[in-house]
C-alpha cells in the first residue's frame, strides 16, 4: 500500500490517483489505466496520448475485507472490488458508503476522492480514488 512505498513514487502517481489519468492509443482507441506508453496491439503503429478516465464504471468482482491490513483497522468490514471503467480498463478500489451485502457484480459505480491512508500521525496523507454506488 502507498504508505509502505517511497514518497517520490507515491507523488509521481498523483495524476492517476487523484484524477484517474491514464492513456489512450489513438490508432486503435484502446484505453489504459494505469497509463501505458506502448500499445501491445498496434505496437510500432500505436500513438499514445494522456487520457483522463470519466470515473464511471461497474463492479467486475469484489471481496469483503474483515481482517484489515495495517492502517485500515478503522474501516473494517470494507468492500474491495475490481471496477471495470466505462473506457475498458479494470482497477482495484475500495467501494464506500455501502454495506457489504448491498454490493453486487455489475453494480454501476462512480469515482469519489477520499483519504486512502496516512503515514502515521506525522507523515504524509495519501489521497486518491475510491468508488461509490452511481
Amino acid at each position: 500500500m502507498p504508505h509502505r512505498k517511497s514518497l517520490s513514487l507515491v507523488w509521481r502517481r498523483y495524476p492517476q490517483r487523484y484524477q484517474l489519468i491514464g492513456s489512450k492509443c489513438l490508432t486503435c482507441g484502446t484505453h489504459f489505466f494505469p497509463p501505458r506508453d506502448f500499445c501491445p496491439k498496434c505496437r510500432r503503429k500505436g500513438e499514445i496520448v494522456e487520457q483522463k478516465m470519466k470515473g464511471t464504471g461497474k463492479i467486475h468482482s469484489f471481496t469483503v475485507v474483515r481482517v484489515p491490513q495495517e492502517g485500515f483497522e478503522m474501516e473494517v468490514p470494507y468492500v474491495l472490488a475490481v471496477v471495470e471503467l466505462d473506457e475498458g480498463p479494470k482497477l482495484t478500489a475500495q467501494i464506500i458508503s455501502v454495506k457489504p451485502d448491498e454490493v453486487s457484480i455489475g453494480m454501476p459505480v462512480k469515482m469519489v476522492f477520499r483519504r486512502i491512508s496516512e503515514d502515521g500521525d506525522s507523515g504524509i496523507i495519501n489521497y486518491g480514488y475510491k468508488f461509490e454506488k452511481a
Binding site: 484524477q19 464506500i96 476522492f113 477520499r114 496523507i125
Partner: protein, 343 residues
C-alpha cells in the same frame, strides 16, 4: 453590461448523522435542553476517510460542473477552513491537483474560524474585478470537532461549499460586499491543541450579534437598501437560535430566513455554514431575486454580501439532496468516525 459574481457553485455534506439524543444520552444530559436551547435536531458526521480537503474537492467538482468551465481556466483557489488536514501544507494544493487546475494558478489557505470561506469569496471577487484573474475558486469546508461532552459537540459538523467567481457567464451578481472586524476572544484553538475553547460570556452579544448586525447594517447603508429589498436572508448559523434572533432584530420575516437555515438538520458546518445556506437559497431562487448573506467568524468578524440572481443555472447536486441523504450513527460509530478513539 459587465457583471461580477458567481459563475457556478457546488455543495457537499457527508451522509452520516448523529442525533442530539444520542450524544446527550452518553453524557447524562437532557436532550430537550439542547434541542430547544440550540434549535438543533442532529448534525452531519464525516466518513472515516473524509476531511476538509475531500469535502472541498467534492463541492468544487460540483461547482465546475455547473459553471461549465475547464478547471485549467481557474487562476486562483482559496480554501477557508478551521480544520485544514495539515498544519503546514496547503489544502489548496490538494484541491487544485484533484480537480485538474494545476499548475498555472495561485493558491492559499484561509483561516478565520467560520467566515474563512466568505473571505475567500471577497478575495476572488477583488482579483476578478481588478483583472488579475479570469476565474477564482473560493471554498469553505470543515470537519469540525467539539471536545467530547462539551456543548460544541452537539453542533460541530462537517460540510462545505465552493463558488466560482468571474465576470463571464455570471449566474448571480455580487452587487456589494463589506466587513466588520474586531479582536474579540469568543473562541480559539491554540496550535497543537485538538479541540477549541470558548470564552462562554463572549459567544453571544459581543461576538455573534455585534458583528453580524453591524456588518449587515453597514451593507444596507452602503447599498441604500432595506430588508424589504431582499427576497432571502442568510446568516451564519452556529445553532438554530442565533440566526433567528438576529433576523428578528433586523426585522427579517421568518419566510426569508428559513430557506437558508440548514443548521437544525446538519449542524454547524463552520466555514461551510453561511455559504451552504446561500447555496440552498440559490437552488430555489428565481431570476431577479435578491439575497443578503452575512457570515460570522469567531475572533471576530463578519462579511456581508448583496447578491442578485441574474441567470438561473440548474444545480444537478442540490443542497437538498445532500441534506436528505442521511444515515444515522450511534455514539460508538460516531466516536470511530471522528477518531475520538485511537488505535
Amino acid at each position: 453590461m459587465k457583471h461580477f459574481g458567481i459563475v457556478g457553485y457546488g455543495a457537499y455534506v457527508p451522509r452520516y448523522r448523529i442525533k442530539v439524543e444520542e450524544i446527550a444520552k452518553i453524557w447524562g444530559k437532557n436532550p430537550e435542553d439542547y434541542k430547544k436551547g440550540l434549535l438543533i435536531r442532529e448534525k452531519s458526521v464525516p466518513d472515516v476517510d473524509e476531511d476538509a480537503a475531500t469535502i472541498a474537492v467534492s463541492a468544487s467538482l460540483n461547482a465546475i460542473e455547473m459553471a461549465g468551465i475547464n478547471p485549467q481556466e481557474l487562476d486562483a483557489i482559496y480554501v477557508g477552513s478551521e480544520s485544514h488536514p495539515y498544519a503546514v501544507k496547503p489544502t489548496g494544493t490538494v484541491v487544485a491537483e484533484a480537480i485538474g487546475a494545476t499548475p498555472n494558478l495561485t493558491s492559499a489557505d484561509y483561516e478565520f474560524a467560520c467566515k474563512a470561506g466568505t473571505a475567500a469569496m471577497q478575495t476572488c471577487l477583488g482579483m476578478v474585478k481588478g483583472g488579475m484573474i479570469k476565474y477564482g475558486l473560493a471554498i469553505g469546508a470543515d470537519t469540525s470537532q467539539g471536545r467530547p461532552g462539551d456543548a460544541l459537540e452537539y453542533t460541530a459538523a462537517a460540510g462545505g461549499a465552493a463558488y466560482i467567481i468571474g465576470s463571464e457567464n455570471v449566474m448571480a451578481e455580487i452587487e456589494e460586499t463589506c466587513s466588520f472586524t474586531t479582536d474579540t476572544p469568543d473562541f480559539w484553538r491554540r496550535a497543537g491543541q485538538e479541540y477549541p475553547r470558548h470564552g462562554a460570556r463572549f459567544t453571544g452579544e459581543p461576538a455573534y450579534f455585534k458583528h453580524v448586525l453591524s456588518a449587515t447594517r453597514m451593507l444596507l447603508e452602503k447599498t441604500g437598501t432595506t430588508i424589504d429589498d431582499y427576497d432571502y436572508v442568510v446568516l451564519h448559523q452556529p445553532n438554530g437560535k442565533f440566526p433567528l434572533r438576529a433576523a428578528k432584530t433586523l426585522g427579517v420575516p421568518k419566510e426569508k430566513i428559513t430557506p437558508g437555515l440548514l443548521v437544525p438538520e446538519i449542524g454547524n458546518t463552520y466555514s461551510g455554514a453561511s455559504i451552504l445556506g446561500l447555496a440552498a437559497v440559490l437552488d430555489e431562487a428565481k431570476e431577479g431575486d435578491r439575497i443578503l448573506m452575512t457570515s460570522f467568524g469567531s475572533g471576530a468578524g463578519s462579511d456581508s454580501f448583496s447578491i442578485r440572481v441574474i441567470k438561473k443555472k440548474e444545480n444537478k447536486h442540490p443542497v437538498k439532496s445532500y441534506v436528505e441523504k442521511r444515515e444515522y450513527l450511534n455514539y460508538g460509530q460516531y466516536a470511530k468516525h471522528r477518531r475520538k478513539i485511537r488505535m
